[in-house]
């Protein structure tokens, strides 16, 4: 292939040169070039190495179906592998290199594998290395696991960077009346027709220019038509999106698009995303997605210098590159003749080899007049040339066989095996394509959605027909009663051609060049019993590369049909799945990465906590203070100090993340009475009560305190984790189960900044912060009392005397924007008393010492009795779960029950998650498990909570093993009451 850049013609801007690098070499192209056209123009012929055999590959097409020129772009963290050079625009500073080759694609050491190619048939690796005799005698994968590493290294495509993707991506949503995919003759016509009727139209084009097949033509009249259409579209307000691929169609008119925003720019604007992932919802969709030209399977049909015929037309007329000087075009259809004429006009010597013998004299005369030599009744048997095409061996059909014929020398071998309409997107909607024997292709089938096919995607092969079909599609999309024009097909009938070979000759003729699947592989699959097209695909990997079978599927089906003695439609076809072309994982993620992977919740005191030394941790979606380390302190030192300080003086902890639900209405108390296990009907105003709610199946769902603020108004608190779940549950109960109750529930979690002040000096500290200190006196605010009052400075607050730590403790809530002011007040009071700020770690320590349960213990598998709270289940009323909690399985006395755990040797530690086993029977699930552990400053040693069969009573004075085989081994432990500190609760009632 001796390609040359022409001095005139094409759509490139010769006044704007761009310099880029290819495999370390500096190369020049022009604005408007693709990487493929620029490399071709600069004489680069081998641009890739094949997946398995490391065969040299060059440019095989001019679009997304490319299977040869697949390269890696960028450097370092910006590496972008498996990019098709045929779709990548060149820009100054672009860095591209070959892949799957060492040291480079022109001279690849891996090519030695090609010598053993005859052994690497479909399934070779698995058949050879799994259960390798004599070592594994037909079973086992141990040896395969070793070989696989080598095989994966030897085969494959590009390699992604191990670094995190430094680019950012956006998601976006859009709506329209009509979505038109494809801007060729049909798409442009359809979009304009819809827009002229007042429809809101979005036009999608994967290329960087609008026009589709118009762009491949040199006729100025055609260009004028294209430009006029584009101007009219803009004037009509059509939203035009170039460099945007519709990769999938989904339910109810939803399309997935990928817009490449900066992939073509030398200098990427700092704040622009690299790509945008669009979700477009359209009332109707027109697919004018075009058709792809097919290759034919013949020996060495993957040699650099073999490409589809229309690709040559594109390089010539669009990019100003004459891709060869001495060109042979082999075909079975009419489409190549316009290409032949253009190539001759550009100065090439062109021979058309047409399989058909009955060509019209008009055509032959026309070709003769322009200097195109036409040979008929022949097809390509073998591409000649060691690394690059130097000729073609032709063959002539002889009955059902082929016999060798002439050899023609050439530097470019163009092939047209027919055209395949791009029915992929319609196929995403479950539509089954229908085989059209006349044109040897699948045409779109029936689609139940509002999706209309147009242009060559619907089997129209001439521009005029495509335009007419576009207009008809627009009318159909708008619900008008229009009959689409009948497809006239080719002027002269196409003669199906999928493979040319002489029986018995073992050669490499590729069906799916991107995955190195050969015609022999397809036949082997058949011989080995894979008769379904789905099995064929999986066994040979046909159509499973990044082009998803765009080039090879039809040929593969044809070969399988031939082997089975069936017609192609009887073999079936696989349905296409999204995405139509590959999508970067980053585009799927959008901006939802790093800190924004999940929506992050911050408490009203978030900044205040940080200013005061908090190290934060995640608790569900919340960021909460984990601990407040002093300079030089470790986590352990900090939390032990904090917990100790709470027991000795006082501590302040941000508890804003607790779920808070306003329960209002005249039936609110009845509602609470039904959902909690204990009685709430008579809870006095100004009092709080701890409650447990069960699921319908009798298992514990959540716990928390509920405060009665007025006759008809309660404030329910939930665990941080279950706040959303409980809210949904309450809504469901009110809407579906008890619609007669006049109750409203509203989440007020975000309304309040909440803080817990715990410790012997808590009351004194708070009193100094209140406008009326007497409010907090023991007689005015007894245990579980609730008051509305005012902090100094006029901050209204709710204050409740409740304790999670087991100390004298209060929770104060203020409206959120007052959170920091409250913290300033409290901290100013607490600090001089020797108080501390404490985080989740110390909070955990304090509650474990007390045996108070949290989500670790209430994990959805435990009953209220298991958690040691059975006395809270009323026997005098019904509540949710009250019946099913009495199932025999849930009332067995040997169920695992909440216990405290000490290490037998008090200097030892054990881990949360360890299994509790009998000393002589350390295996299986054991007798229980550890849910939480901590160092207890109050007790001076390590402690834990967990569940053990039969509970404390069953294992008193016995030794169990905390077995943690993956981490800490086995530790001897004792089972104690879960109430390990101040079991009578004297401190919190003080």
């Amino acid at each position: 292939m001796t390609a040359t850049r022409l001095n005139t013609g094409g759509r490139i801007d010769r006044s704007r040169r761009v310099t880029f690098s290819w495999d370390g070499k500096t190369i020049e192209g022009f604005e408007g070039d693709t990487l493929a056209s620029a490399l071709m123009a600069s004489g680069q012929q081998i641009l890739g190495r094949s997946f398995k055999y490391h065969r040299p590959r060059g440019v095989m097409s001019a679009g997304v179906e490319e299977s040869g020129a697949i390269v890696t772009l960028g450097e370092g963290a910006y590496l972008d592998p498996n990019v098709k050079a045929t779709t990548q625009e060149v820009f100054s500073g672009l860095s591209a290199k070959g892949q799957n080759a060492w040291p480079n694609v022109r001279c690849d050491a891996g090519a030695v594998l090609g010598l053993f190619g005859r052994f690497f048939s479909a399934g070779f690796y698995y058949k050879t290395f799994m259960g390798l005799p004599p070592f594994e005698w037909g079973r086992g994968t141990g040896i395969w696991m070793q070989y696989e590493k080598l095989i994966r290294k030897a085969a494959g495509m590009g390699e992604a960077s191990r670094a995190a993707d430094p680019d950012h991506y956006d998601h976006s949503h859009a709506y329209c009346d009509v979505l038109v995919v494809g801007s060729g003759p049909a798409g442009l016509s359809a979009a304009l027709a819809a827009a002229k009727k007042g429809k809101d139209v979005i036009l999608i084009e994967q290329d960087f220019e609008l026009g589709g097949d118009y762009l491949n033509q040199s006729d100025p009249v055609v260009e004028l038509k294209r430009a006029t259409l584009v101007d009219a579209l803009k004037a009509a307000g059509v939203r035009i999106m170039t460099r945007t691929t519709a990769f999938g169609l989904y339910d109810f008119g939803t399309a997935g698009l990928l817009e490449r925003v900066t992939d073509h720019l030398s200098v990427k604007p700092l704040h622009q995303p690299r790509q945008r992932f669009w979700t477009v919802r359209a009332e109707s969709t027109i697919l004018a997605t075009g058709a792809l030209e097919r290759l034919v399977a013949f020996t060495n049909n993957d040699r650099p210098g073999v490409m589809t015929a229309n690709a040559a037309r594109s390089y010539l007329n669009r990019f100003g590159v004459l891709p060869g000087q001495d060109i042979v075009i082999t075909t079975n259809n009419d489409s190549v003749y316009r290409t032949a004429v253009d190539l001759v006009k550009a100065g090439a010597k062109v021979t058309v080899v047409d399989l058909r013998t009955e060509l019209s004299n008009t055509l032959l005369n026309k070709m003769s007049q322009v200097g195109v030599v036409v040979k008929t009744g022949l097809a390509p048997l073998k591409a000649l040339g060691r690394k690059i095409v130097s000729g073609v061996q032709l063959a002539r059909p002889n009955g059902t066989q082929w016999i060798a014929d002439d050899v023609l020398s050439c530097d470019l071998l163009l092939v047209s095996g027919g055209w395949s309409p791009v029915v992929n997107l319609q196929s995403h909607r479950g539509s089954k394509p229908i085989w059209n024997a006349k044109d040897a292709c699948f045409l779109p089938g029936k689609c139940n959605d509002n999706v209309t096919m147009a242009g060559s995607a619907a089997g129209y092969w001439q521009n005029d027909d495509c335009e007419a079909s576009g207009l008809a599609a627009a009318s159909l999309a708008m619900g008008e009663d229009v009959k689409p024009p009948s497809a006239v097909g080719w002027e002269r009938p196409l003669k199906p051609l999928y493979e040319v070979r002489i029986a018995g000759q073992k050669t490499k003729s590729f069906v799916d060049p991107q995955h190195d699947v050969t015609a022999s592989d397809v036949r082997l699959a058949h011989q080995e019993g894979f008769v379904s097209v789905e099995h064929l695909k999986r066994y040979t990997t046909l159509g499973m590369a990044t082009d998803q079978g765009k080039m090879g599927n039809i040929i593969g089906l044809a070969l399988m049909a031939d082997a089975l003695g069936k017609e192609i439609p009887d073999v079936g076809t696989t349905r296409f799945r999204p995405p139509y072309t590959p999508i970067a994982i980053g585009a799927l993620a959008g901006r939802n990465t790093g800190e924004h992977f999940k929506p992050l919740r911050r408490t009203p005191m978030h900044d205040w906590n940080l200013k005061h030394g908090a190290t934060m941790t995640e608790a569900g979606l919340w960021h909460r203070p984990w601990y407040f380390a002093r300079p030089g302190e470790t986590l352990n030192e900090a939390y032990i100090r904090e917990a100790t300080t709470v027991r000795e003086t006082l501590g302040i902890c941000d508890v804003s993340s607790l779920g808070k639900i306003a329960v209002q209405g005249p039936d609110a108390s009845e509602f609470l009475n039904r959902i909690y296990t204990n009685a709430f009907a008579k809870l006095p105003v100004g009092k709080a009560r701890y409650g447990i709610m069960l699921r319908d199946d009798g298992m514990v769902m959540d716990d928390g305190t509920t405060w009665r603020l007025s006759e008809n108004s309660f404030l329910m608190t939930t665990t941080t984790t279950n706040a959303g779940k409980v809210m949904v549950w309450l809504e469901e109960l009110l809407q579906l189960r008890w619609p007669e109750l006049r109750v409203h529930v509203s989440s007020v979690s975000d309304q309040w900044g909440g803080v817990s002040i715990a410790g012997p000096k808590a009351r004194t500290a708070i009193a100094s912060c209140l406008e009326d200190a007497g409010v907090i006196a023991a007689e005015n605010l007894p245990f579980m009392g609730v008051r509305k009052t005012t902090l100094k400075g006029g901050i209204d607050c709710l204050i409740a005397r409740i304790s999670f730590s087991g100390e004298l403790a209060y929770e104060i809530y203020v409206s959120a924007d007052h959170g920091e002011a409250m913290m300033d007040l409290l901290w100013d009071a607490a600090k001089p008393m020797g108080g501390c700020l404490y985080g989740l770690e110390a909070l955990g320590t304090l509650r474990i010492e007390k045996g108070h349960v949290t989500g670790a213990e209430l994990d959805g598998r435990v009953t209220i009795d298991d958690a040691g709270l059975g006395q809270m289940a009323s026997t005098k009323k019904a509540f949710i779960g009250s019946a099913l909690r009495q199932r025999p399985e849930l009332t067995r006395s040997d169920r695992a029950q909440l216990v405290g755990i000490f290490p037998k040797n008090r200097n030892q530690t054990f881990n949360g998650g360890a299994l509790l086993c009998e000393k002589e029977n350390v295996k299986g699930f054991g007798e229980g498990w550890v849910t939480a552990v901590t160092h207890s400053p109050a007790l001076g040693h390590w402690i834990g909570l967990g569940y053990v069969t039969g509970g404390h009573a069953a294992w008193q004075n016995q030794t169990l093993i905390a077995s943690d085989p993956t981490r800490a081994g086995e530790i001897e432990v004792e089972i104690v009451s879960p109430h390990m500190f101040d079991p009578k609760g004297e401190r919190m009632h003080g």
Partner: protein, 196 residues
């Protein structure tokens, strides 16, 4: 008077940001507003809708997609049986009342952060996160919707000055970081917070 600290106080850096010379997106926090909820029983929907609207001297707010506004505030229906009323701080008593036979009222002070998004690209920016149709024909001035922003339920309405977004306070900083980062591609101006 004690200083209040809004959730966005340290999130949005004032001034111009981004690639463009002009600001196609303007973000501005609205503060100093009260938010009240009025919830009706099934047989008192009209009564409560009228009650909420009358508090700001507006027409009935029965249409779930319509925002009623007056100089005294805005009111809209956020759920089939619930209305939100937004007024400047202190305009109404902090403990709104409703006869229990009519429904229940709730002060939701500080539960939401309010960000106003305006400028030529405001709808484009919002549609990077909100899946609803924001074309002027589908979402004209005076329209409200409850929708999702990165899985978080938010309330949106279109006013004469642009879009108004009420975000649950705990999520506001995180979601506004996303708005701030994304908006810079269009040219962003963050303006001084203003009181309602």
């Amino acid at each position: 008077m004690v200083n209040t600290v809004t959730s966005l106080q340290s999130t949005l850096t004032l001034g111009r940001h981004g690639d463009q010379g002009i600001s196609n997106v303007v973000l501005q926090e609205i503060k100093d507003f009260d938010l009240f909820q009025f919830a009706a029983w099934e047989n008192t929907v009209e009564t409560v809708a009228n009650h909420a609207a009358q508090l700001i001297g507006s027409q009935t707010a029965i249409n779930p997609r319509a925002v009623q506004s007056s100089g005294a505030g805005v009111v809209f229906r956020v759920e089939p049986l619930k209305w939100w009323l937004i007024t400047p701080t202190g305009k109404l008593p902090l403990e709104p009342t409703l006869e229990v036979d009519q429904g229940v009222a709730l002060n939701l002070l500080h539960s939401r952060s309010w960000i106003q998004v305006s400028g030529e690209k405001s709808a484009t920016l919002l549609n990077q996160f909100l899946p609803i149709d924001l074309r002027l024909s589908a979402f004209p001035v005076g329209t409200a919707a409850t929708t999702a922003f990165h899985h978080v339920g938010v309330t949106l309405w279109r006013g004469a000055d642009g879009f108004n977004l009420l975000i649950p306070r705990s999520f506001a900083a995180s979601l506004c970081e996303l708005l701030f980062e994304s908006a810079q591609q269009y040219g962003l101006s963050v303006q001084q917070p203003k009181s309602l």
